[in-house]
C-alpha cells in the first residue's frame, strides 16, 4: 500500500497543462475568486447564526467593510516589536493564499493543483501557523505567549489527525495529489465506502479545531480568557490585523472547500469550458451555503469546550481518521 502511495507521482493529472498560459491565468482568476469569497462565506455563517439566535444580522458586505476600514488605518507598532512581528502578517496571508491557490476550487484541471499535493497544503498551513505563533510571542505580552502556546499544543494534536484523514483518502485514490484524489473519488462508488465516512468525520472535527470555531475556539470575541487565535493577534492593528483576519477567513473557506471537494465533489469542472465552470460555480455556491448553515447550527447548539477537553476532541478526530485508514485496509483492500 505504501508503495502505491509513493509510486503515484503528483504530476500525472495535468502535466501537459503546466505549460499552458491559459491554464495559469485561469488558476490565477480562481485564486482571486477564492480570496475574494472568503469574507462572504464568514459573513454568511454569521448571518445564519444571527437568524438562529434572533438577532439582527449585519449586511453580507460587512466583512469587506471591516477589511477596508482596517486597511485604511495607520499601523501602530509596539516599541519592542521586532522584524518578525512586522513580516508575520504578510507571511501568514501569503501562505494562506498559496494554500488556496493549490486547492482545487472550481476545477480540478489546474496547473497549481498539479504541482503540489495534500502534504504541501498542510505544510503551507503549518508555515503560517509557525509565524503566527512567533508573532504572538514577539511583543512579550502574557496574552500573546499564552495564545501561541495553546495554538502549538493544539496543532501538535490536530496536524496528525488532519494528515491521517488525508492519507485515508489518498489510499482510496492511490495518490496524494488533490486533483487526482477528487477525480478518483468522483468516479468510484464512494457513498458506501466506510473509510471515507470515517475520514470525513475526522476531517470535519479537525477543520473545526484548525479554523478556530466553536467548540474549540470562539471567533466572535476578544474577551474570553480561553481564546486562542485572538490572543495571538491581540497586539496587531491596521492593515496587519486586516491581513490576519482575512487569512483566518480564507483558511476557513479553504477547509470548507476541501471538505466539499474531497468528500462530495460532484459538479466540479474537469475542463476549462465556460459551461462546466458555470456549473461548478453554481454547485460550489450551493454546497457552501448548505455547509455554512450546518456550521452555524452546530455552533449554535454547542458550547465552547473547556481548553483541557480539546485534546480529547482532537484525539477523537485522530481516532476517527485512524479508523478510516484501518477500515480501508481491513474491509476494502481485499
Amino acid at each position: 500500500m505504501a508503495a502505491s502511495l509513493v509510486a503515484a507521482a503528483p504530476l500525472d493529472a495535468a502535466a501537459p497543462l503546466a505549460m499552458n498560459a491559459a491554464g495559469w491565468l485561469l488558476a490565477l482568476a480562481q485564486t482571486a475568486l477564492f480570496v475574494a469569497a472568503a469574507p462572504l462565506f464568514a459573513g454568511w455563517i454569521k448571518r445564519v447564526k444571527c437568524w438562529l439566535q434572533n438577532r439582527q444580522p449585519p449586511p453580507l458586505a460587512q466583512g469587506y467593510r471591516d477589511l477596508r476600514r482596517l486597511f485604511a488605518k495607520r499601523v501602530r507598532l509596539a516599541d519592542q516589536a521586532s522584524v518578525v512581528f512586522r513580516i508575520a502578517p504578510y507571511l501568514v496571508f501569503g501562505a494562506t493564499i498559496l494554500a488556496a491557490a493549490v486547492t482545487p476550487f472550481l476545477s480540478v484541471n489546474l496547473p497549481t493543483a498539479a504541482i503540489t499535493d495534500a502534504i504541501a497544503l498542510t505544510g503551507f498551513f503549518a508555515f503560517a501557523r509557525f509565524f503566527l505563533a512567533l508573532a504572538g510571542m514577539d511583543i512579550g505580552t502574557a496574552f500573546g505567549g499564552m495564545g501561541s502556546s495553546r495554538e502549538m499544543t493544539l496543532s501538535a494534536l490536530a496536524e496528525p489527525a488532519m494528515l491521517m484523514a488525508l492519507f485515508t483518502v489518498a489510499m482510496v485514490a492511490s495518490s496524494t495529489n488533490l486533483a487526482t484524489v477528487i477525480t478518483s473519488i468522483e468516479t468510484q462508488m464512494v457513498m458506501t465506502r466506510p473509510s471515507l465516512w470515517f475520514a470525513a468525520f475526522g476531517f470535519l472535527l479537525v477543520a473545526v479545531a484548525e479554523t478556530g470555531r466553536i467548540p474549540v475556539d470562539n471567533p466572535a470575541t476578544h474577551l474570553e480568557l480561553t481564546m486562542i487565535h485572538e490572543a495571538m493577534i491581540l497586539e496587531y492593528g491596521g492593515r496587519h490585523l486586516g491581513m490576519l483576519e482575512w487569512a483566518a477567513q480564507l483558511k476557513l473557506l479553504v477547509y470548507a472547500v476541501l471538505a466539499i471537494n474531497i468528500f462530495n465533489p460532484w459538479g466540479i469542472a474537469h475542463e476549462d469550458s465556460a459551461s462546466a465552470l458555470g456549473l461548478a460555480i453554481a454547485a460550489m455556491a450551493g454546497k457552501l451555503l448548505v455547509l455554512g448553515i450546518v456550521l452555524a447550527v452546530t455552533e449554535t447548539l454547542q458550547a465552547k469546550l473547556r481548553l483541557f477537553r480539546v485534546p480529547v476532541f482532537l484525539m477523537l478526530a485522530f481516532t476517527l481518521a485512524l479508523g478510516g485508514m484501518l477500515s480501508f485496509i481491513i474491509l476494502e483492500a481485499g
Partner: protein
Amino acid sequence: MFFAQLPIYEQAILALAAGVLLLSFFMLAHPRIYSVIKLFAWQGLVLAATTALVAFDSQTPHLYISAVLTLGLKAVFIPWLLLRMVDKFEMHHELDEIRRPGLTLLTAGALVVFCYHTTLPIAELLLAITRNVIAICMSVVLLGMLMLVSRNKALTQVVGFMTLENGLFFAAVAVTKGMPMVVELGIAFDVLIAAVIFGVFFLHIRQSIDSLDISRLSRLSEAERE
C-alpha cells in the same frame, strides 16, 4: 478496485460493519451515561440491519429471526430498561468521566490493529464476503472489554458488557452465518435475564453505597471516603 466491484448490498454490509465499530468508539469516548445508552441502542439497530443484509446475501432465512431478535432486544428492550433505570435514579445529566480519554482512544486504535493482525490467518481460510468483518467483530469485543475497565459507573460497565456480546454475536453472524437457532435463542434469553439481573444489582449497589460508582467499592471502610 476490490471494493467497487462488490454488489451494492455487500458494500452496505461492510459499511454497516464499520458503523458498528464507529459506534463502539463513540461509546468509549462519550462521558454522558444517557448518551452512551442511546449509542448502544443505535449499535443494536445497525447490528440488526447488518444481520438482515447478511441473511439476504447468504440466503439463510433463519438469520432474519436473529435480526428481529437483535432489533427487539438490543435496540429496543435493553436500552429501554437501562434508560428507565437512569430515569429512576435521576441520573440524566450525570457524567461518567473517563480518567485518561486520550490514552483510552489510542489504546482502542491499537486494539483494532492488533485484532486485524491476529485475525488475518483466520480470514484467509474463509471464502465469504464477510471474512474481512471478523477483525471488526474481534475489535468490538475488545473495545467492550476496554470499556468495562475504563469506566467507573455500573450502568456504563453494563453497556460495555452488552457491547462485548454484540461483538460476539456479530462474529457468529459474519463468520459462520449464525449459530444454530437453539444456541442463539439461548444466548438471547441469557442476555435478557442478565439485563434484568443487572437492574436488581443496580438497586442493591445504589442502596448500599448511595451511588453507582463502582470505584467506591474498592475502598474498605466508610471513613476513607472524603
